[in-house]
Symmetry: C2
C-alpha cells in the first residue's frame, strides 16, 4: 500500500464513466491531484465504455491524444487520466470510486465489480436519476452502497459539464454521512473555481439532482411556447417545481434537512438546468414541434447523450400513482403527461392555477 | 357610504403611482374589479405625477386614450382607471390604497396625505426598496403605516411589469399581518393568470423585494463579463446572493418566517429579476462598458425609470458598515464596490471563493 512520508495512506482514485460529465470532472481531478502527491496517487483510471470513433478506439484516442473527442471535444484531459475499457481493472486497487455513468447501467456495473474492489474503498455518485429496479423508487447511491458494501456519498450541484471543464467558477455540493470520507472527496475535487460545500444529507441531495430535471423540462416547455417573453411564467414554473421537489422529499423520504434545498445541489442546480441544460433545450424543441417524440429529438439534438427529465418524470409518476398522490404534484404529473403527448404543453399552466402551494390562506405548513 | 344589496360596504380602491409597474397592475385591477361590483366600486383613481408627453398632459392622454404612453406604451388601460394629478384627490374616499411610486417619494407623499384619507382605510405597498430616512434601514411599508396610521401590507413577486400587463401567467405574494385585509387585496388583484399567495410575514416579504435587486445586479455583471457561457457561475452568484438575503433578514430583522423566501416574493423574484429585469440588463452593460457610470447607463437605457439595485446596495452597505458586518455579506459588499467602480467586475468572483456559506464543514447552522 502506498503511504506518504508521514505514513499516511496515499489514496488511489478511479472514475467509473467517461461521458460528458465524467470527462469534465476528470479534467478537474487529474490536475488537482497532481498538486497533492502526499494525499493522492497520480494515476487515475477512467472506465471508458469502448466504442469506435472515426475508426479508432475511444480509449486509444483518450490515452494518446488526451481528449474525449466524442463526449467532451475540444478540451484536453490531463495525462494522468488513463482510459481503461475493463471496468474491473479500472476500479481495482482504488480507494475512492467516482461513479458517473447513465443510471440504467449502475446495477449491472456494480454487480460486475462486487467482490473485486478494495473492501475499505468508498464511492461517490455523480449520477442524476432514480432507480426503479426494486419496483419502487430508490436512490442510485443505495444501489452502489448495497451492491458493493461500501459507503457511498453523492456530488450534486449547478454544474453544466462543459462550463466545469472550461473552469468557469461554480459551486457544488458533496454529501456524505461520514464527513471524513466527504473531506477526502472534497480535497480531490475542489479547485479555486469549483467550490465544494460538504453536507451530511445524502438522500435529499441526491433527490434534488434527479427531480430537478423534471422541473427543467417544465421550464423548457415554457421557453418553447413563449420564447423569452414569459420570464414570470418560467420563474413560477421553476418555483412551483422546486416546492414539489421539497414536498416529494419530505413526504416520501422523511428525515432530511430542509437546508439541503438551498445548497448548490438544490436551488442553484434547478436554476442552471432550467436556463441552460439539455432537458430545457429538448423540452423547448418538444413544445415547439408537436409532431416529434422525445426519442426523435434526443437522437437529433444530443449526440448520444441521455436525457434524464422525461424518464425521471415517468418513474416519479408511476410511484405517485401507486401512492394515489398524483394530484398533490401537479407539475410533476403534467410534465409526465406532456412528455407522453397525453397533454398539450399549452395546458401545463392550467394545472398550476390552483396549485397546493396557493391553496392555503396562510403560509404553507411544510415551510 | 356605498353598500352592496347584502349591506356589505362596497370598497373603493386608489392607485398611488403610475409608472411601469403601477400601470401594469392597473390593467389587472381595472378589469378585475369590474367583474366584482358587489365588492368593489367601479372607478379607480390613479395618481399620476403630471408631466407633458408630446405636448399633452399625461393625465389627459390616459383619460382620453386609455394608455400610459410613457411608462406602459402599447397596452390599453381599462376605462375605469381614472388618472388624477392631485394625490389628495386620488386617495380621498378610498378604502384600499395601493402605493407604487419610487421609494424616495414615499415619505413626502404620505405626509401630504396624512389626515386626508379615510381613517379605516388600509394600504399595500408594491414598492421595492428600503428607507434610510431615519438614519437606519427601514421598511417602506412602515413609513406608510406610521405616517398614515393605517395598516400596510406588501405585494411582492416575480412580476416583470410588461409581462403582467400582457397577462402572461405568473405568481405573486401578498403579505398582511391582518389576513382579512390581505384577502380583500387578493380579491381585487388575483386573476386566472396572476395567482396570489397570501402570507403574514410582511417584513421578510418586503426585504426580499428590496434585496433581490442587489443579487440581480450581481447576476447581470456575470452576464456582461461572460455572456451565456457561464450558467454555473451565474447560478452560484444567485444562490449566494439569496443566502445573503436570508442571513440579512435573520440577523437584522429577526422573527420572520423562512418559508417566505420560498414564496414568489423570494426565490422566484430573485430568478426573474436575475434573468430578465432592468437591474440585470444595466449591470451587464456596466460590466461590458467600464468607462460608463450607472447614472449614464440609466439615462441611456431606462427611459426615465429608476434602477433600484445600486441604490439599495449602497444603503445596505452603509448599514453593514455601521454594524461592522461587511465581511459577512461578501456579495452585497462586492456589488456595492463594483457599482462605485471601487472594484472591477472581474474581481467579484474572488470575493465568493471562501464565502461564509462554504466555510462550515457541515450544513449552515441557520438553515
Amino acid at each position: 500500500m502506498a503511504t506518504s512520508p508521514t505514513g499516511q495512506k496515499i489514496l488511489r482514485l478511479a472514475i467509473i464513466g467517461s461521458g460528458n460529465w465524467g470527462s469534465a470532472i476528470a479534467v478537474l481531478i487529474g490536475a488537482n491531484i497532481k498538486r497533492q502527491p502526499s494525499i493522492f496517487q497520480n494515476e487515475v483510471r477512467m472506465w471508458v465504455f469502448e466504442e469506435e470513433v472515426n475508426g479508432r478506439k475511444l480509449t486509444e484516442i483518450i490515452n494518446q491524444d488526451h481528449e474525449n473527442v466524442k463526449y467532451l471535444p475540444g478540451i484536453k484531459l490531463p495525462d494522468n487520466i488513463v482510459a481503461e475499457p475493463d471496468v474491473v481493472k479500472a476500479a481495482q486497487d482504488a480507494d475512492m470510486l467516482l461513479f458517473v455513468i447513465p443510471h440504467q447501467f449502475v446495477s449491472k456495473t456494480c454487480q460486475t465489480l462486487a467482490g473485486k474492489i478494495k473492501p475499505d474503498a468508498s464511492a461517490i455518485s455523480l449520477i442524476k436519476g432514480l432507480s426503479t429496479e426494486t419496483g419502487k423508487i430508490g436512490l442510485i447511491s443505495d444501489i452502489i452502497k448495497n451492491t458493493l458494501k461500501i459507503e457511498c456519498g453523492v456530488l450534486m450541484g449547478a454544474n453544466v459539464a462543459n462550463e466545469v471543464a472550461q473552469q468557469q467558477y461554480c459551486e457544488t455540493t458533496i454529501a456524505f454521512r461520514n464527513l471524513r470520507h466527504g473531506e477526502k472527496y472534497r480535497e480531490a475535487i475542489q479547485t479555486d473555481n469549483f467550490r465544494v460545500s460538504l453536507v451530511e444529507d445524502v438522500t435529499w441531495a441526491e433527490l434534488c439532482g434527479a427531480l430537478k430535471n423534471i422541473v427543467a423540462f417544465g421550464a423548457g416547455l415554457i421557453d418553447g411556447l413563449y420564447g423569452d417573453k414569459a420570464g414570470n411564467t418560467k420563474a413560477a414554473v421553476i418555483r412551483i417545481g422546486f416546492m414539489e421537489m421539497i414536498d416529494f422529499a419530505e413526504t416520501f423520504f422523511p428525515g432530511g434537512y430542509r437546508g439541503t434545498f438551498l445548497e448548490s445541489c438544490g436551488i442553484a442546480d434547478v436554476i442552471t438546468t432550467s436556463y441552460g441544460g439539455r432537458n430545457r433545450r429538448v423540452a423547448a424543441a418538444f413544445a415547439a414541434q408537436p409532431n416529434k417524440s422525445i426519442e426523435e429529438l434526443q437522437t437529433e439534438m444530443l449526440n448520444g447523450q441521455q436525457l434524464q427529465g422525461p424518464g425521471t418524470a415517468e418513474e416519479v409518476n408511476a410511484f405517485l400513482k401507486q401512492k394515489n398522490a398524483e394530484d398533490d404534484f401537479p407539475l410533476f404529473t403534467a410534465v409526465h403527461r406532456v412528455c407522453k403527448r397525453d397533454m398539450k404543453p399549452q395546458d401545463l399552466i392550467a394545472q398550476l392555477r390552483d396549485h397546493p402551494v396557493h391553496r392555503s390562506n396562510t403560509q404553507h405548513k411544510s415551510l
